[in-house]
């Protein structure tokens, strides 16, 4: 069974899309070769490059023309891109939003004009705007990660947190998910919480300084893998790899390898490729007439630890192994 892809529409979720169908042409017009826009929040981060390129490749495999647009982490730029895409006559949008709230208006603008929007990875805070949202469950993933954290670190000790971009929804959800578990243990004391912008360089520098102020920490939780890699380097530089456990989020190749090598402790595997492919396939189906999509299709985030690391590769499960999403 496909993960999270319950393809029978529930009453609630289908409403938005149905209402739209009523306004627009019935699902009669079939497009075998459409134009698909891949609008991604930023390409300044390999994670999103993978996401965008996979979506594009899959759409092209399915016979469509696909173009990638970079919003450069800027809602305004994203709004302009939407306008341009609509004026440019694209048929569907595979969308990685920059902001859960601010991007809603953009999505509405497109669906109002009958152009379907499939959100990938990041959520928008509206259930009646997008055609469907294929989402990493950041919160749940971090709840799981938090539980493993307590298991691996123990119920006592000082730790630090490196957060991603200030103002980013994922930053917020990951931190919240993690703390929803860890804060219940009074023995676990967070002695530093700093932002390192999802960025490896900053992760390294901020960690070096945190180590200075708090040489006795036993763990660090990082909001993504780039920061985890930077943090690990700082810890290695300080000769404290035995003392401090590093936790990341994403499932980047380097981190998976690092876990296998017994360096980084754990990460939460998102499936960017899987999400992107699914979105491209949905768009394809939409163009061929399908209209009933679930509003939210959560793609579970999986914990990668030394115990199960062998099953994972770069941003996903190893071929043949655990990739439940392939239909």
């Amino acid at each position: 069974a496909a993960i999270g892809c319950g393809q029978t529409p529930t009453d609630d979720d289908a409403k938005g899309a149905d209402a739209e169908n009523a306004d627009n042409k019935p699902a009669a017009e079939v497009k075998e070769h459409g134009r698909v826009a891949v609008v991604v929040s930023t390409l300044n981060n390999p994670w999103f490059v993978v996401l965008a390129e996979t979506a594009k490749a899959r759409a092209e495999e399915l016979g469509h023309e696909a173009v990638i647009f970079d919003s450069q982490d800027n809602v305004d730029k994203e709004a302009s891109t939407f306008e341009n895409v609509l004026a440019g006559g694209f048929d569907a949008i595979l969308f990685n939003p920059t902001d859960a709230d601010a991007s809603v208006a953009n999505v509405r603008r497109a669906t109002k004009r009958g152009v379907p929007v499939f959100c990938i990875d990041r959520e928008i805070n509206a259930t009646d705007a997008a055609t469907a949202q294929i989402l990493s469950d950041n919160y749940a993933g971090c709840v799981e990660l938090g539980q493993y954290f307590v298991e691996a670190v123990g119920e006592e000790g000082k730790y630090a947190e490196l957060q991603g971009l200030v103002g980013d929804n994922n930053t917020y959800n990951r931190s919240k998910g993690f703390h929803s578990v860890v804060d219940r243990y009074d023995g676990l004391e967070m002695v530093a919480q700093q932002s390192a912008d999802f960025n490896r360089t900053k992760g390294l520098e901020v960690m070096e300084t945190i180590l200075q102020a708090n040489p006795d920490i036993v763990a660090v939780f990082c909001g993504n893998d780039a920061m985890a890699l930077g943090a690990y380097q700082a810890i290695e530089g300080a000769g404290k790899t035995e003392q401090i456990k590093v936790f990341g989020f994403d499932g980047a190749e380097d981190v998976v390898r690092s876990i296998a090598d017994g360096e980084i402790q754990a990460t939460a595997m998102q499936f960017p490729k899987k999400m992107a492919q699914m979105a491209a396939e949905f768009a394809d189906e939409y163009l061929k007439g399908r209209r009933n999509f679930d509003q939210k299709i959560p793609v579970a985030v999986e914990l990668v630890t030394p115990d199960n690391v062998a099953e994972y590769g770069d941003y996903g499960a190893k071929d043949g192994a655990k990739d439940g999403a392939k239909e």
Partner: protein, 322 residues
């Protein structure tokens, strides 16, 4: 406006025309009324900032803080609109109308501009550093104010400012067109405007002629702040949301537009109409690259090259006439 300025603008105009012709030929979708309106809507925010930037640059300064000031004004005004103010001791709760919100946003921007202006004009600190400091401070304040979360759901009345249209012309474009008209008159036909050029072109001479140099400069920064506030309102209305990262790096686009439009970063030269041309060139370019399906990586390269070309042509031609 003198001859060299006219010529500089002619160059920009030609660059713009070439760009537009090329795009009309190579895409079907460029030369449509809808796309035209898109471009106008898209440049409104940058143009609003660029008017203020023009004043500051003409006065011999620079304002790197416009993007952050935009964000802070946007955050404060969105908050006021959404939640109003509790005047606790009086037991009064004040709601903000759309008009009140606009006033508040512009005021907040002006206030930050005033701080910039006082530091530059009274203390004689370098504008680059003052506004770089403000860039950091205003961004931090925005994040503090919003707690890092966007403020959304501001209502359709307010949204109309950013998304509405009048007879097919986007409202933000009309608002900014009005500002362009006002500031064209201000720069070319008022004492303040002329003093701006005098201060930027020859500060000492202006001072010895009895121009209150510090006051003129301070007002340039106040205007820039106010227009950043206005730009913040337009952007927030367009996005129905004030996010903490709104307007990041906008200073660069705005400075580029003003310089492409013929302004000199050493002061004394530049015009509001030039800024309009500069914004159009950048806006059409962004729009065109998207319509042409150019890869995002190449877009950066091409954008850089076009900025260089636009200014290079301008300088080369000016060199022969100078």
């Amino acid at each position: 406006m003198n001859l060299t300025q006219r010529i500089a603008q002619l160059q920009s105009l030609i660059a713009l025309a070439v760009l537009m012709i090329a795009l009309s030929v190579s895409t079907d979708s460029f030369l449509t009324p809808e796309n035209g309106m898109n471009v106008l809507r898209q440049i409104s925010v940058n143009l609003c900032l660029s008017i203020g930037m023009t004043l500051v640059i003409v006065s011999g300064g620079i304002d790197l803080s416009v993007g952050s000031v935009l964000a802070f004004s946007a955050a404060v005004s969105a908050w006021l609109l959404k939640y109003g103010v509790d005047l606790a001791p009086l037991g009064v709760h004040v709601e903000f109308t759309v008009a009140g919100t606009i006033v508040a946003g512009v005021l907040v921007g002006s206030l930050l501009g005033l701080v910039n202006g006082l530091l530059v004009a009274r203390l004689g600190m370098p504008a680059f550093i003052v506004t770089l400091g403000m860039l950091s401070i205003a961004r931090g304040l925005t994040e503090l104010w919003t707690g890092g979360h966007p403020i959304t759901g501001l209502g359709d009345d307010f949204g109309w400012l950013g998304t509405g249209d009048l007879h097919g012309v986007p409202v933000p474009a009309m608002i900014v067109a009005g500002l362009v008209a006002v500031f064209t008159v201000v720069t070319l036909r008022t004492r303040f405007g002329r003093h701006l050029y005098a201060v930027g072109g020859a500060e000492r001479a202006a001072r010895l002629s009895g121009v209150n140099v510090a006051r003129v400069k301070t007002w340039a920064y106040i205007c820039s702040g106010a227009l950043s506030g206005m730009a913040g309102l337009l952007l927030t209305a367009r996005l129905d949301s004030a996010t903490p990262r709104l307007g990041e790096t906008y200073e660069l686009d705005s400075i580029a537009a003003v310089v492409i439009g013929g302004a000199s970063l050493s002061g004394g030269r530049g015009s509001v109409l030039g800024a309009v041309l500069g914004c159009l060139i950048i806006g059409v370019l962004n729009n065109g690259l998207a319509l042409l399906d150019v890869s995002p990586f190449w877009q950066k390269v091409i954008k850089g090259v076009v900025i260089l070309l636009a200014v290079a042509i301008d300088r080369l031609s000016r060199r022969q006439t100078a």
